[in-house]
């Protein structure tokens, strides 16, 4: 087996173990929040998926920059794969956030809150990124166009991340300078969930990269068939 294959399996195992530990910690071990009650438990998965979506979009940005610098297609694939996974985790973060808000604020969504607004915008930007890729033919041109858009779109990530720190409105700030209002067991649960989701992200990313590589190989084989009219089994 290839080294990347072994690494993927290790990542997946780590993700599985940490996810199950995280579920146990979040639902059984961690104490119920004094003011928010049971609904607060969703927060561990909300923060973890939000963190992964930021990480994924930052990797898209780095992949885009590296592509423009080197013109190596592997960075284009990295940027695209990471954006796709980022969208999934961003969707999870938005939905879990809404469920939490329904329990605590009484409404799913507050349109005036900048954090919520900018996170939804970030989601829209990367939906547009995927639409851009879907509407152009594979190749260097698509890689270049989407890399440029990935770089412009990156601007909303620091804004979304910093929103609740700049405009202190409704959305709570987890990593506050004073350590926040969380108990130690809650912090430990959160850290486990964040690590679990991070490993999950990396294992999905590696599988996705493998799939994209296989797609490329299939394309090459197809081209060979097209050129010779028959498959060269030699």
């Amino acid at each position: 087996m290839k080294r990347s294959g072994i690494l993927t399996i290790i990542m997946m195992l780590a993700a599985a173990i940490l996810t199950f530990t995280g579920i146990y910690l979040a639902f059984v071990w961690a104490p119920t929040h004094e003011t928010m009650g049971e609904v607060q438990r969703i927060f561990y998965f909300h923060v973890a998926s939000a963190w992964v979506s930021y990480l994924a979009f930052i990797i898209t940005f780095i992949g885009s920059l590296l592509y423009l610098k080197t013109e190596d297609m592997k960075y284009d694939i990295l940027a695209f794969s990471s954006a796709e996974i980022g969208i999934v985790f961003c969707t999870i973060a938005i939905i879990t956030g809404g469920l939490w808000a329904q329990g605590v604020w009484g409404v799913f969504w507050i349109w005036e809150d900048m954090k919520l607004f900018l996170t939804l915008v970030m989601w829209l930007v990367f939906i547009a990124y995927l639409a851009l890729r879907a509407n152009s033919d594979p190749g260097k041109a698509r890689a270049r166009l989407s890399a440029v858009f990935g770089i412009i779109g990156f601007m909303c990530i620091p804004l979304s991340f910093a929103a609740n720190r700049i405009w202190t409105q409704y959305h709570p700030t987890v990593i506050a300078s004073a350590g926040g209002s969380l108990q130690t067991s809650m912090v430990l649960t959160l850290v486990t969930a964040v690590f679990a989701f991070t490993f999950l992200y990396f294992s999905i990313l590696m599988i996705k990269l493998d799939i994209e590589k296989m797609k490329e190989e299939i394309e090459e084989i197809k081209q060979e068939i097209g050129d010779n009219g028959e498959i060269d089994y030699g």
Binding site: A131, S136, L145, I152
Partner: protein, 234 residues
């Protein structure tokens, strides 16, 4: 010889000027284009006017969104063909073969489309005051905000237009790619500032908002200058 080497000193400015004049000539040679955009602005404002004849609303509160939605609509139609016509008519190759840098092309097109769209916006603004019996706010402040907001809109729009020109369904893809980025930049800053001007404030009260608008203008013009090279490559 590198393209830049062929240009000495002021000739880069004269190349930008040449592109600027060429763009304006194309724009005004076919008066149908300008006419349709003016009519579109009229139609958008008329639809708002008719809708709000039936719905009770505060004109002062909705003035800013109505104005900017009209600007966006007519502006996007003006932005879409800027790079698309170069691709369709095969003149993109000629432009890239010319001994000028891509940023020269960007700035030439930026200045000409800014002039056209700004004219269009001023026309829409006058129409707005005809249709909606609004007390005039501080006009110098209002026009300053419109000019500053339009700089960012046009700079970003030019860059996105260069992306969408190279993909399929480019007419649809321009707004799809442009709107999410506009949301957290121009919409967030200029629309809010315009709202406050209609609310009776002047430029002096809006120093922070104007700084933010200027920051986005600089970011978009700079990213256009830095990234256009990759979009003009063949």
């Amino acid at each position: 010889m590198k393209p830049e080497a062929a240009l000495k000193g002021g000739s880069k400015i004269s190349a930008t000027k040449a592109i600027f004049i060429k763009e304006l000539k194309i724009e005004f040679r076919n008066k149908q284009m300008i006419n349709s955009m003016l009519i579109l602005a009229l139609m958008v404002l008329a639809s708002f006017r008719f809708i709000f004849s039936f719905i009770d609303f505060s004109e002062t509160e909705l003035a800013a969104p109505i104005l900017w939605v009209t600007f966006f609509f007519s502006g996007m139609f003006a932005l879409a063909p800027i790079y698309q016509r170069e691709v369709e008519q095969g003149t993109k190759e000629c432009l890239t073969l010319a001994p000028i840098s891509a940023s020269t092309i960007f700035f030439g097109k930026f200045f000409s489309s800014f002039l056209v769209i700004m004219g269009l916006n001023l026309f829409s603004m006058v129409l707005f005051f005809v249709f909606f019996s609004q007390p005039f706010p501080d006009m110098i402040s209002l026009i300053t905000i419109i000019v500053l907001g339009t700089i960012g809109f046009v700079a970003l729009g030019n860059l996105i237009s260069a992306i969408s020109a190279n993909i399929s369904q480019s007419q649809v893809m321009l707004p799809v790619l442009l709107i999410p980025i506009l949301l957290f930049t121009v919409v967030m800053t200029s629309v809010e500032a315009t709202y406050q001007i209609f609310d009776g404030q002047t430029l002096a009260d809006l120093a922070d908002g104007i700084k933010l608008i200027l920051a986005f203008d600089i970011i978009f013009v700079a990213s256009g200058y830095l990234l256009i090279d990759y979009l003009m490559e063949e």
